[in-house]
């Protein structure tokens, strides 16, 4: 009997073998990338949150209590009139509901006012002030509720007294990091709070 070449052997394989082989190769590729379940569908419907309602997230419980304009920074005192700035203060209560430490500096991805002409994620525009003692950038230890003032430095006039300000709220899901060992959080918007701002 004539010896079959490799090409002939491959062409004689059952189609099901090819299907299994392709699936196995795909699984091998997907494994280091986190497996098949890396995409989680989330609702596009954003829920409004009143001042007495808590967003129960996977990482943080968040309540937006109040918001106001001020010329006085809660931690650093009055702004110099020559600097041409004012502050939008968003009072929140935040609880880290995980078992891991977190920093208040991470909250900008979870709480963000929507003000035309203002980027709340820009460098240096946001300070996190603990209402208890006006210290800044407190750690968010698991289970400990924090009354935090998120202080945004604005150009005067971007927000007017008596206006409604929309604050977008996000939740997050945890996944394995692609770049190193450990996990990372992927935030996604789930709700919003509208607060009428006065001046204090």
């Amino acid at each position: 009997m004539a010896r079959l070449t490799l090409r002939q052997r491959l062409t004689r394989l059952h189609p099901l073998v090819w299907v299994v082989a392709v699936a196995a190769a795909g699984a091998l590729l997907a494994w280091p990338l986190g497996g098949w379940d890396t995409v989680t569908l989330v609702s596009r419907t954003l829920t409004p949150y009143a001042s007495n309602q808590v967003l129960h997230g996977h990482r943080f419980d968040i309540r937006v209590d109040d918001a106001w304009l001020s010329n006085v920074h809660p931690a650093y005192g009055p702004a110099d009139p020559e600097d041409g700035i004012e502050y939008l203060v968003v009072a929140t209560t935040v609880t880290n509901v995980t078992h891991d430490v977190a920093s208040s500096a991470e909250l900008d991805e979870y709480i963000a006012p929507v003000v035309p002409g203002f980027d709340p994620h820009a460098f240096g525009v946001l300070d996190y002030v603990l209402a208890l003692d006006d210290s800044t950038l407190p750690e968010l230890n698991p289970g400990l509720p924090r009354d935090l003032l998120l202080v945004y430095t604005l150009t005067p006039g971007l927000v007017t007294e008596g206006a409604d300000v929309r604050v977008e709220l996000s939740d997050a899901l945890q996944r394995e990091s692609f770049l190193s060992y450990g996990t990372v959080w992927d935030p996604f918007p789930v709700g919003y709070a509208i607060r009428n701002v006065d001046r204090r």
């Binding site: 210290s135 230890n141 289970g143 400990l144």
Partner: protein, 196 residues
């Protein structure tokens, strides 16, 4: 390619996967070297630091000359002495109850040992570190064997790896719980007064 060759190739692939699964991950490879502080007032050393825990208490409020620390939870105040052994620098720390991890508080700024002290080798410092905990932490089943850890600022708790960590186990349920504690700012310890 013969059937035997295919079997051998498949076996090699399977063996490679087996080895991959059996190999320790980065987290294990880079785990710190842990030494246990056996009891209060016993000096214990890593390559980089020595630490002596001198007291541990709970408080509803912590006071320094310039700061009053109210809390929605409870303070864990740990008094200790530390010495750098081979290079100048500071102390870093962490706290855990079971699998829940807590960060040492920086609210008191430089009034705590992990923020306000940076020692030269062989010159001991004394002071306190603070952990702000939720009240529920005291009822955690792991509260009887909570662990506070210390390392140099360039060590495993400060972003580095592959170095020593000192751990001291606390029973939070047996600690004195005081309405208010005043802590002293970090200070150098005269050699004659060194504990441990």
């Amino acid at each position: 390619m013969s059937a035997r060759g295919i079997v051998v190739a498949a076996a090699c692939v399977a063996a490679a996967f087996g080895l991959t699964l059996a190999a320790p991950g980065d987290e294990v490879i880079q785990a710190p070297f842990v030494r246990t502080i056996p009891a209060l007032d016993q000096q214990t050393a890593t390559r980089e630091i020595t630490v002596t825990v001198t007291d541990a208490r709970l408080a509803d409020r912590v006071q320094t000359p310039e700061w009053t620390g109210a809390t929605n939870g409870v303070w864990l105040v740990v008094d200790l002495e530390f010495t750098r052994r081979i290079s100048r620098g500071g102390l870093s720390g962490a706290f855990r109850i079971g699998d829940t991890h807590y960060r040492l508080s920086e609210r008191a700024d430089l009034a705590t040992l992990d923020n306000g002290a940076s020692g030269q080798p062989d010159l001991p410092w004394a002071g306190s570190v603070l952990v702000e905990l939720p009240l529920s932490a005291l009822e955690d089943p792991g509260a009887t064997h909570a662990v506070i850890s210390f390392a140099g600022t360039s060590g495993p708790l400060g972003g580095g790896d592959l170095d020593g960590v000192l751990e001291y186990t606390l029973d939070l349920t047996s600690l004195d719980h005081e309405p208010s504690i005043t802590i002293a700012e970090p200070a150098r310890v005269p050699p004659a007064q060194v504990v441990g």
